[in-house]
């Protein structure tokens, strides 16, 4: 099997996986009772209307009066044509809602990702270079602490200390602040800090362990024997090979955090980003938006895995793609 064929097969599979997961989501939602309908009925009953009719009209309005398979086919058509429907919970098209969410999420996740990628490996290498010394313990302890402390708990404490008690940072996020403004930087310091401390732990650990492995490799010993300066030896011989597994782990890790814990940080800091949109959609059973968000998340995750695998395959010649 050639590389191209391998990539093609993997891509096809990625699309299939997305399709399967979104279908499962669709079924899960479709089979759950929709509270909006009984709300409509309750309202009608309370104001002297006909609850049954109101429930019917609400179902019609939400397109729930159609049989399941028709709704499913409609939904699939929508997926391909990028018409993901109307979000009843936000009174805007689903695509627009997701774009808005990405707009706010990106404002903190881009600086966060960049900082993580820079700081994580550095701390890891530093730790590996001083393995089992107090420096290593300190660095490891710090990274671990950051990783282990639940993001939302850490965020609450930071808000308590820095916003409530010391009044150094704003209590609430102002979504209307321009992206490139001091105000925006100011209000994003705490969320980004929480997320960076939360994510460097994992990256740091991988780079520490990987580089520890390479440190003992024969080529490293040779380099040392040849009198290459330790720093240079590190940069050339430890950092480089470490980057291969690291970069792939990175993609996976970042994605996990990106999709999961940012929701809680968004809630604590009041950022109207992607996580909160998804959560609100779930709470209000805004079917179209849940499906749209799931589709987006799944797509990102599957594509992430795909890229990870392909990069790994290309970068590391020891792995043959026939085997996978």
């Amino acid at each position: 099997m050639g590389l191209l064929r391998y990539i093609l097969a993997r891509t096809a599979w990625a699309v299939a996986v997305t399709f399967i997961i979104v279908t499962i989501t669709f079924l899960l939602i479709a089979l759950a009772p929709d509270p909006n309908i009984s709300q409509a009925a309750t309202q009608a009953a309370l104001q002297g209307g006909d609850p049954t009719e109101a429930a019917q009209r609400e179902a019609e309005m939400r397109g729930l009066d159609q049989p399941l398979h028709i709704r499913y086919i409609d939904f699939l058509q929508g997926v391909y044509t990028l018409e993901w429907g109307w979000s009843d919970n936000r009174a805007q098209p689903v695509t627009e809602a997701l774009l808005e969410g990405i707009y706010y999420t990106a404002q903190y996740s881009i600086p966060w990702t960049i900082l993580t990628i820079i700081i994580g490996p550095i701390v890891g290498l530093y730790s590996a270079a001083n393995m089992y010394s107090w420096k290593d313990h300190l660095a490891t302890g710090f990274a671990f602490a950051g990783w282990a402390i639940p993001n939302f708990f850490f965020a609450l404490i930071l808000v308590l200390i820095f916003s409530v008690w010391l009044n150094l940072f704003p209590l609430s996020y102002d979504p209307s602040a321009p992206v490139f403004s001091l105000q925006n930087v100011h209000q994003l310091v705490l969320p980004v800090f929480v997320l960076v401390t939360g994510s460097i732990g994992a990256i740091m650990r991988v780079s520490r362990n990987e580089s520890a492995e390479f440190q003992n490799a024969a080529f490293m010993k040779t380099a040392k024997a040849k009198g290459v300066s330790p720093l240079r030896a590190y940069a050339l011989h430890v950092m480089r090979p470490t980057l291969v597994p690291l970069s792939t782990t990175l993609v996976g890790q970042i994605l996990v955090i990106f999709l999961g814990s940012s929701l809680l940080v968004e809630i604590v800091f009041g950022i109207p980003g992607l996580g909160r949109i998804t959560f609100d959609a779930l709470i209000n059973q805004d079917t179209n938006l849940i499906l749209g968000a799931t589709l987006l998340f799944t797509f990102i995750a599957v594509m992430g895995n795909l890229v990870e695998d392909i990069v790994f395959t290309i970068l590391d010649p020891r792995i043959s793609y026939d085997d996978r």
């Binding site: 996986v17 990783w147 282990a148 404490i157 308590l160 520890a212 003992n216 809630i267 799931t294 799944t298």
Partner: protein
């Protein structure tokens, strides 16, 4: 991992690989007789101790009424009501408690017992492990949580509502009287001071925070043990079977794992738990259902890579069949890495539970740390202890699991060891 002694050449390390091999050998004993229904000591323990629990669990499920306490009913059924009452045996465990007990038995049988049997090996590991001080502290901490979780509920009563004692401060702390509904301790300058009666203060309903944290330990341990067991069973089975079968079956099973791994897990937790209710049992089920993918993949790759090792090749040349190799050599050799991997996934479950509880999607009937944090956050600015006490306990527990996992990883990683000797 055992193949490159010569490149290191330190005595200690040679001892390591030597004993590691011995450990492996002894572990093989459990699998010595390859008959399908061979009874290993571990299995014996499981059956002996586990069976009564399973039976009691079934009895609880099918005989005892909804509102009856299991042991009270058991007492009356056995004609032992008298002695039971005298002894104060009136526990009413739920199905999760039974499952929890069963997993502890499994743990003893498959981790504790082998460690005990291989005393020398255990002592060696312990020596290695002891050098990592944070890990030792972590172990002590987790031990405390475990003991607190198992015994705590028997010693400390479930925190009770006391409307006249809302927001009592912890010992040595104080709070403005305006926030409280009454003060158990001393009142000075319009501030209420904490007492030993509520060492960590009380919540909005006057529930003792310390008692809540202790009861939270039980839930934490239940999540950790039960979920991990389920994940381990599914993951190891799936991973080894996949590696063992190879070919198309492997392909299909791994693609299936891909799907499981590709689920946006958190969204699915939310979706399922929000729509279909969020009891603690459901939690554990959902976590386990989405959590085994990584383990399966890991086990499979370990199994495959071990089978590439020289010594396996040697065994193969000597005529052993693939199944035998996998069962007798591959699984035992991966056991330690699997345990490490499992240690490292536990914090994820604890964190997920806390996150969901924070979002208001949780079993409010069960006093978890996440619930407590969630409930305390509205008053964090004047009564921060309600959030801080469970928050730090959770934090330290997750930290401890990580340190522990890392220490085990280091202990079984000869390369990293060599590093120390330099």
């Amino acid at each position: 991992m055992t193949g490159n002694d010569e490149s290191i050449g330190a005595d200690d390390v040679r001892a390591t690989s030597g004993s590691a091999r011995r450990f492996d050998e002894i572990d093989w004993d459990d699998y010595e007789e390859p008959g399908l229904f061979s009874v290993t000591p571990s299995l014996k323990i499981t059956l002996l101790a586990g069976l009564p629990i399973v039976l009691l669990g079934l009895y609880d499920e099918f005989v005892v009424g909804d509102r009856e306490a299991t042991f009270v009913r058991l007492g009356s059924d056995l004609g032992l009501s008298g002695p039971f009452e005298t002894l104060g045996v009136d526990f009413d465990p739920g199905s999760l408690d039974f499952l929890f007990m069963f997993t502890i038995v499994l743990f003893i049988a498959y981790v504790g017992y082998p460690l005990y049997r291989n005393g020398r090996m255990t002592r060696y590991y312990w020596r290695e492990f002891k050098r990592n001080r944070p890990a030792v502290i972590s172990l002590v901490w987790l031990g405390l949580i475990f003991v607190g979780g198992v015994l705590g509920p028997f010693l400390i009563a479930m925190p009770e509502q006391d409307l006249a004692a809302a927001y009592q401060p912890p010992v040595f702390a104080s709070i403005d009287l305006v926030h409280t509904t009454g003060c158990v301790g001393e009142i000075r300058d319009g501030r209420c001071y904490g007492t030993w009666e509520h060492p960590l203060g009380t919540s909005r309903g006057g529930q003792d925070v310390f008692a809540s944290v202790v009861h939270g330990m039980t839930v934490t341990m239940q999540i950790a043990f039960i979920t991990t067991t389920i994940v381990a069973i599914i993951g190891i089975t799936f991973g080894t079977v996949s590696a063992y079968l190879g070919g198309w079956a492997d392909e299909i099973m791994m693609r299936f794992t891909d799907i499981v791994l590709s689920f946006p897990t958190f969204v699915f937790f939310l979706l399922i738990l929000y729509i279909y209710g969020a009891g603690l049992g459901m939690f554990i089920l959902v976590f386990a259902a989405f959590g085994w993918g990584a383990t399966a993949r890991y086990v499979r790759s370990k199994a495959l890579s071990i089978s590439e090792e020289e010594f396996i090749k040697a065994i193969r040349i000597s005529g052993a069949s693939t199944p035998t190799i996998v069962r007798r050599h591959v699984i035992p050799n991966t056991a330690s890495s699997i345990i490490t991997q499992l240690t490292l996934i536990v914090p994820g479950f604890l964190l997920a539970e806390a996150q969901l509880a924070f979002l208001g999607i949780g079993d409010t009937a069960v006093p978890t740390w996440g619930q407590l944090i969630s409930a305390g956050r509205t008053s964090i600015d004047f009564a921060p202890w309600i959030v801080l006490a469970p928050g730090f306990t959770l934090f330290l527990t997750i930290l401890a699991f990580n340190f522990l996992g890392d220490a085990i990883l280091d202990a079984i990683n000869p390369e990293a060891e060599a590093e120390t000797d330099r």
